[in-house]
């Protein structure tokens, strides 16, 4: 079935178009992004249950972008009467005029930017889903998740709790200008299972997730997630501390994705090029990894939680080859940064929600697959660790430093897993050194979209990341 486009947005579209026409009398460019995304979030644990009609991406509101005299300004609002667009127009003009006067008094000059194009275009993209969150049988789903939590307690050893989370969001976005009318709707869902255990000596928590640009049918496939989370907890409860040093590593597809995203992906977000905040700008056309490393980024690179028809500036979804055989080719770019850099936008202009500014953001970020089997990789390691489980990462585009916090490291000695587990593992280093050390790649790329990505410490958006199993060298602590 189709994920139908929001009737609410269809209803306000004529009023928004009138608002654009009114604002065009004052500005050289006007666009409006309107959103209406509904969904549910359920969390079930042994001790507490909660249901919400919100997820991190449910929203309803509008943001106007205007341009005059080399300057872009925005006004976000969530009260709008389509019968009286003149009220909203007046309020926007007054607010932005107050800001202009303050800036003029303080002699703050604009960062001169060109005019965005406004070529005629019409699109209605209603993407496929099996089920819609708003039509889901909540009693059935809550029962299923409760049973899963109970099953986790039954199967697990030393368990304190088994918490199951299920979120599903039906996204509708409308991008309008004087000449463009783009509308898209799709459903994405993600869920996770967190198991907490205490063996009398320590308390540990393990997590595993599931995601897809699909409806609540996703949660029919939760059973293997529970098994993976329980296995991870068992390993954590017997884990030892890491002995710091440089090691050969085999990164799971999840950890490959973390490296792709944190170590490299943020470094080629080209709004950072505009501010001279990314070392990547100096490496275009240069080697940044071994011959084996090829990396793609774009909403068209897969069908995941981060895949859409157009971004929050109305740019169509893209597929950018960032690294090809170890050579950095290009980065990703939002529309305003593209104007400033004299390049083309890549469909990566995203907002946390309608009320937030656009930044260049990742969508699907992934390493391409190679030729090796996991068995071959393990056999090739004399002393190192197989890394599994993503905890977190932090970008450092200016210096290409790496911070990836990995849940578990499984020791390998002389080509064999020894059964010893270490946790947590802090992977640090210099990006070109890490990518330069990639010496083997698995045969399949896996993408995971169960997490969110921030820019610095804010601006959370949905992303997916992944890669194949990767063999490299890294500093672990």
């Amino acid at each position: 079935m189709k994920a139908t486009f929001s009737p609410y947005l269809n209803g306000i579209a004529p009023g928004i178009k009138k608002l654009i026409a009114m604002l065009r009398k004052h500005y050289d460019y006007v666009s409006v992004l309107s959103t209406d995304s509904r969904g549910f979030g359920i969390s079930i644990s042994q001790k507490s249950k909660n249901v919400s009609t919100e997820t991190l991406t449910t929203e309803r509101g509008n943001v106007v972008r205007v341009y005059r005299n080399g300057q872009y300004s925005e006004a976000a609002f969530n009260r709008f009467d389509p019968e009286r667009p003149e009220d909203t127009c007046r309020e926007i003009l007054e607010s932005l005029e107050k800001q202009r006067k303050l800036l003029e008094n303080l002699q703050v000059r604009p960062y001169e930017t060109g005019l965005l194009a406004d070529e005629p275009e019409t699109l209605l993209a209603e993407m496929e889903t099996e089920r819609l969150p708003e039509e889901e049988d909540m009693a059935g789903l809550i029962g299923k998740l409760t049973a899963l939590s109970d099953l986790g307690m039954e199967k697990g050893k030393d368990l304190i709790d088994c918490s199951v989370r299920a979120d599903s969001t039906h996204v509708s976005k409308m991008f309008l200008t004087e000449h463009r009318d783009l509308r898209q709707s799709y459903v994405y869902s993600d869920g996770s299972i967190t198991v907490t255990g205490d063996n009398g000596e320590r308390t540990e928590m393990a997590y595993d997730g599931i995601s897809g640009r699909v409806g609540p049918e996703l949660f029919d496939g939760f059973a293997p997630v529970l098994d993976r989370a329980l296995e991870a907890l068992k390993d954590l409860l017997r884990s030892e501390r890491m002995e710091p040093g440089e090691y050969e590593i085999i990164a799971s597809p999840g950890i490959s994705g973390l490296i792709a995203h944190e170590a490299f992906g943020h470094g080629v977000e080209m709004d950072m090029f505009v501010k001279d905040r990314a070392l990547g700008a100096e490496y275009i056309g240069k080697r940044v990894g071994s011959d084996l490393v090829t990396m793609h980024e774009g909403a068209k690179c897969g069908t995941t939680v981060a895949s859409y028809a157009f971004d929050d500036e109305g740019t169509p979804a893209g597929d950018v080859t960032e690294i090809e055989n170890g050579i950095l080719k290009t980065g990703i770019c939002d529309a305003l940064s593209a104007l400033r850099l004299g390049t083309e936008p890549t469909g990566n202009g995203k907002r946390e929600n309608y009320a937030h500014k656009v930044y260049t953001r990742m969508t699907n970020t992934l390493f391409s697959a190679g030729q090796n089997t996991l068995e071959e990789m393990i056999a090739s390691v004399s002393r190192g660790f197989l890394l599994r489980g993503v905890r977190s990462g932090m970008e450092d585009p200016k210096h290409w430093g790496i911070q990836c916090i990995v849940d578990r490291g499984y020791e390998i000695v002389d080509g064999k897993l020894t059964g010893r587990v270490v946790s947590p593992v802090v992977m640090t280093g210099y990006v070109p050194d890490l990518l330069g050390s990639v010496s083997m790649l698995g045969q399949e790329t896996e993408l995971d979209g169960s997490g969110f990505c921030g820019k610095g410490y804010k601006e959370w958006v949905k992303v997916a990341e992944g890669g194949p199993w990767i063999r490299a060298k890294a500093r672990l602590g």
């Binding site: 001790k47 009260r79 800001q99 303080l106 932090m394 450092d396 802090v426 640090t428």
Partner: protein, 426 residues
Amino acid sequence: MLDRILELLKTSGADGWEVTDKVAETWEFYLIRHALDQNRVRKTETVSVRVYKKSEDGKFLGSAGGEIPPTADEKEARRLISQLLLAASLVKNPVYSLNKPEEIPGTAAEKADPAEIAGEFLRVLQDLPETETEDLNSAEIFVSSVRKRFLNSEGIDLTEEYPSSSLEAVINARRDGKEIELYRMYNSGTCDREKLLRDLAETLSVGRDKLIAQPTPALGRADVVFSTVAARELYTWYIYRLDAQDKYCGYSDWEIGKPVTEQAEGDKVTVKAVPFLPNSSWNSRFDREGAPIRETVILRDNVPESYHGAQQFCRYLGLEHSFIPSNFTVSGGKRSAEELRTGNYLEVLEFSDFQVDTVTGDIMGEIRLGYLHDGDRVIPVSGGSLSGTMDDFAKTIRFSRETRTYDWAEIPAVTRLTGVKVTGAE
């Protein structure tokens, strides 16, 4: 709109309800160097509703929450409330009581003018003591004036207005063709001009040292001194261990009256929840469930005195007058900051992202700039990481009598941990 929602709730068949109506006007300025990248204004209203439904036998109380858009008409609002009510009836949590009206101590903050505060932030950035080699790369200013009203079915009806601001600043330093950056994020109520100028001037100075930093050597285990906002994460571990939800769910084994560590050779920690701290962005007289926030010691000399947190979990632990704290103070220790900075130690000023796992107590963070004090030598270092667990560090933690405030927490200005694993960058 709010009145209409309240009427719908009263006639919905819910056994209880809570509504939070938040109206905010936000001014935002984005700068590249000192030029304006973009100016933005936001005017939003968020109406969050939670409905409660008891099971027929009265043993369980379910709840479900969600937003009702301010543009929803009566039909849509009624449908959304019905959905919540249905969802609440499917949730089986042991029954508990909602907060009741109580006298709220303190006086409400005054309405803020975002234009005035945003202007002050812009002036701070213009007055930075930049040099040819240390300057501002970019900045983002967010200033909100918020009016929040909370109501529930027990008769609570509270309103307050407050300012909330943040400044993100990126500082560059360069020498011999090499350029580095330092990242700062400040959250506060309004703009504290003097504090910001002082801290940003320090950051400009620190930038020079990062340019000449050597790779951090593999120190094995070392004493590490924390003297920045990262130290707040260490104390957050104590706060989370006393959260009623963590206790009820079994994630924390701390008990009232029982010391949190058996062999405390170091300083003993005292943590107090407070409703107000100077210029905190979290200042509030009442929590998100309408309970008054009272000055309360939760941990005294390493001994828990009180759990804190959401009404549901506090009731399960038998606490009637509880609240979700917003601000905290951690009392200072016996030694001066100077006394703690003696002998051999590593003082870390910049992490990429310092974290403390509140369940396991694991600490972790990549070092972006530290000062290695080795005898008489002080060496700026960069790279490598720290690790270890708070379960161990709590036994030997030492902290200064001087304190410093980072938005919602006043903590010792200097904290020293012993036996931290330091992975080198060499």
